[in-house]
């Protein structure tokens, strides 16, 4: 038999080891949750927010994220690159809406030299940029809400 002190060391040592593993695992979980970008999105879109004021704060690189601030997908955020973003109910859209008032191919967001433009793809109920119905490709000022059916999208830097 092993000495009592050794047994006690094993006894508590192993429990500590086990919990260290759990601790390490939860650090990984935490890094996974909070690792990417700042946290919450305010769910309420600021109606008629002074777009110009927000545009001034825009960094030199332009907006970096597309954030859903209203509708069933609220809280979803998508990192912007250079590729266009398709919004609609079709499965191959970038933002797949589950919104009864959206068409299957509803709108497209395109990047031109760092500026983002929104374009309606002949949807039934239309795309609205901050109150005005979008006809042709329109420049999106940072912070201006894009409304598609019940869904509200915003560009954030």
């Amino acid at each position: 038999m092993t000495a009592a002190i050794v047994v006690q060391t094993f006894r508590f040592g192993f429990l500590i080891l086990l919990w260290l593993f759990i601790f390490a695992a939860f650090r990984v979980v935490k890094a996974d949750l909070f690792g990417a970008g700042p946290a919450r999105v305010s769910p309420v879109p600021r109606r008629g927010a002074p777009a110009a004021k927000q545009a001034k704060r825009k960094g030199p690189k332009g907006p970096r994220q597309l954030v859903v601030t209203g509708g069933s997908l609220t809280g979803t955020r998508i990192t912007l690159g250079t590729q266009p973003i398709l919004v609609g109910r079709a499965d191959d859209s970038t933002v797949v809406l589950t919104d009864d008032f959206a068409s299957s191919r509803h709108a497209r967001l395109t990047n031109r030299d760092g500026d983002w433009y929104v374009e309606d793809l002949g949807s039934t109920n239309g795309t609205y940029l901050d109150r005005a119905r979008v006809a042709g490709p329109t420049l999106i000022p940072s912070g201006a809400p894009i409304r598609i059916g019940k869904t509200v999208l915003e560009l954030r830097s």
Partner: protein
């Protein structure tokens, strides 16, 4: 399916990581490797402590077994690195640690049984640990096979009905076979062929789960939209109750013909919760509880084995010499363990329980590692389940969401039923503790379950946005179709 193969190739050839749209996620494979090494070290430490305490010396065995165990999981890690690069980094380490702790405990119980046999002059029993290690290898092979063969979990949705039918056949098979081939300790849940006994129900669970997910994705609109409002609850139409009633009857059938309380509960519980997740309607939970209560009441009235279980649960000490023996010894074991346990190798779980390696391994953990150790093990399960639900939230397709949530919930429910039964929170039902208990079928089947979770989590965290989506019609090349 050639079309799928083509699509898969198109996917893998798209290597540009800066695809504009998705969340940019690191692969986190190195985190997984570090955590795996940590898990292997914990397992080796456990084995060393057991050796030092029980045999009085630590031999080179620890290093050999440790290296073998590490090798197995390294293979798993490399396969994930190759075939599921973006998979969740915590699923594999959590499972590795649970599996390793199980192996150490089984080896430790083997040794205790040997000592017992020596002291009473009986023949030495063969150890179970090498067999369990072999099953772990088989399980890992299945894990690799699932990851390599199923490159996109959505393929499974196409085989939903086939898998469902296969699952029902597997589930019903032991009931149809003669008792000599299928009955062990009163439960007809085995198939015994050529010295091997497998529990088809463990595999049936996963097949049926895939079927539930495929079926509910197809039918959820009907199940959630058409309804009447009664007493503040949205009740479904009568005809939509059909599938629930079928599953309910099937799980009752398992209970009646196979006397398997655990599987019956598991299958019904999984179905109700998946129905709830698919439709987001509380009324299904209410209906499920109602049906469960009715089924439980009928079973209690009709079947003596159910009645015995319940009576033992209410007062185990009244039956401490026969039916209640196991649970009483289990409670004593947990009591002996206390907060910090007796230390690995210092308890006497072997003399307390016949089923110390299978149904009651949780007691062994509780006795030797105490409440703190047992909670740590439960945390590992919690971690696994949490990763499953997280995967379910992240993945984009409805089938993947439902399947991941169902798989995660099945692990959670199984652990709850086992630990609840052993600690006398609920009546005892014969279910295995996933990854820890001795038992080949359960271990191998659970490896398949984990492989599916890893596959879905890979799809969920992969930065390419709509996975495997065909290019927009306008950009597709014109094709000439030969007739």
């Amino acid at each position: 399916m050639p079309a799928d193969a083509l699509r898969g190739r198109a996917m893998s050839s798209r290597t540009n990581p800066a695809l504009a749209t998705g969340r940019s996620m690191p692969t986190r494979r190195n985190t997984e490797l570090v955590m795996l090494i940590f898990a292997v070290l914990v397992v080796m430490a456990a084995q060393a402590i057991v050796d030092a305490t029980v045999r009085g010396a630590v031999g080179l065995d620890v290093v050999y077994y440790g290296a073998g165990f590490a090798g197995l999981w390294l293979i798993a890690h490399l396969v994930v690195r190759r075939f599921a690069r973006y998979a969740d980094p915590l699923i594999l380490p959590a499972v590795a640690l649970l599996n390793g702790l199980g192996l150490v405990l089984i080896a430790r119980l083997d040794f205790a049984a040997e000592l017992d046999a020596q002291s009473s002059g009986e023949a030495l029993p063969g150890g179970d640990a090498p067999l369990q290690l072999a099953w772990t290898l088989v399980g890992l092979l299945l894990f690799v096979a699932v990851l390599v063969l199923i490159r996109d979990h959505r393929v499974l949705a196409k085989y939903g009905y086939t898998l469902g039918a296969g699952g029902v056949v597997l589930l019903a098979l032991p009931a149809l076979l003669p008792s000599s081939l299928s009955e062990v300790n009163g439960a007809k849940i085995w198939i015994r062929v050529a010295g091997f006994s497998i529990q088809p129900g463990e595999f049936a669970k996963i097949a049926v789960l895939v079927f539930f997910a495929a079926y509910l994705v197809a039918k959820r609109d009907v199940l959630s939209l058409a309804s009447r409002r009664v007493l503040g609850l949205e009740l479904p139409r009568g005809r939509d109750l059909g599938p629930v009633m079928v599953v309910w009857l099937a799980s009752l059938g398992v209970l009646v013909f196979e006397k398997d309380l655990g599987s019956s509960l598991l299958i019904f519980g999984i179905f109700i919760v998946m129905l709830y997740i698919a439709t987001e309607r509380v009324s299904w939970l209410a209906i499920g509880l109602l049906l469960f209560s009715a089924g439980a009441y009928v079973a209690y009235q009709l079947f003596s084995h159910v009645r015995v279980r319940v009576q033992v649960w209410i007062d185990p000490f009244a039956f401490r010499d026969d039916e209640g023996f196991q649970i009483v010894q289990s409670l004593f074991g947990l009591g002996t363990g206390g907060l910090f346990g007796t230390g690995l190798g210092n308890g006497r779980p072997d003399s307390l329980n016949v089923y110390a390696k299978t149904d009651f391994i949780v007691t062994t953990i509780g006795e030797e590692l105490g409440l703190f150790g047992l909670v740590a093990v439960l945390m590992l399960y919690l971690l696994l389940v949490e990763r499953g639900f997280r995967t379910s939230l992240l993945v984009r397709d409805a089938f993947g969401k439902l399947l991941a949530a169902g798989l995660a919930f099945s692990v959670a429910l199984q652990v709850f039923v086992v630990v609840g039964g052993v600690t006398k929170l609920i009546p005892l039902t014969g279910l295995t503790t996933p990854f820890v208990s001795y038992g080949g079928s359960s271990l191998v089947a659970n490896f398949a379950l984990v492989a599916l979770l890893v596959r879905i989590s890979d799809a969920a965290r992969r930065p390419e946005s709509p996975i495997g989506a065909p290019p927009p019609l306008a950009e597709a090349k014109t094709e000439i179709v030969a007739r």
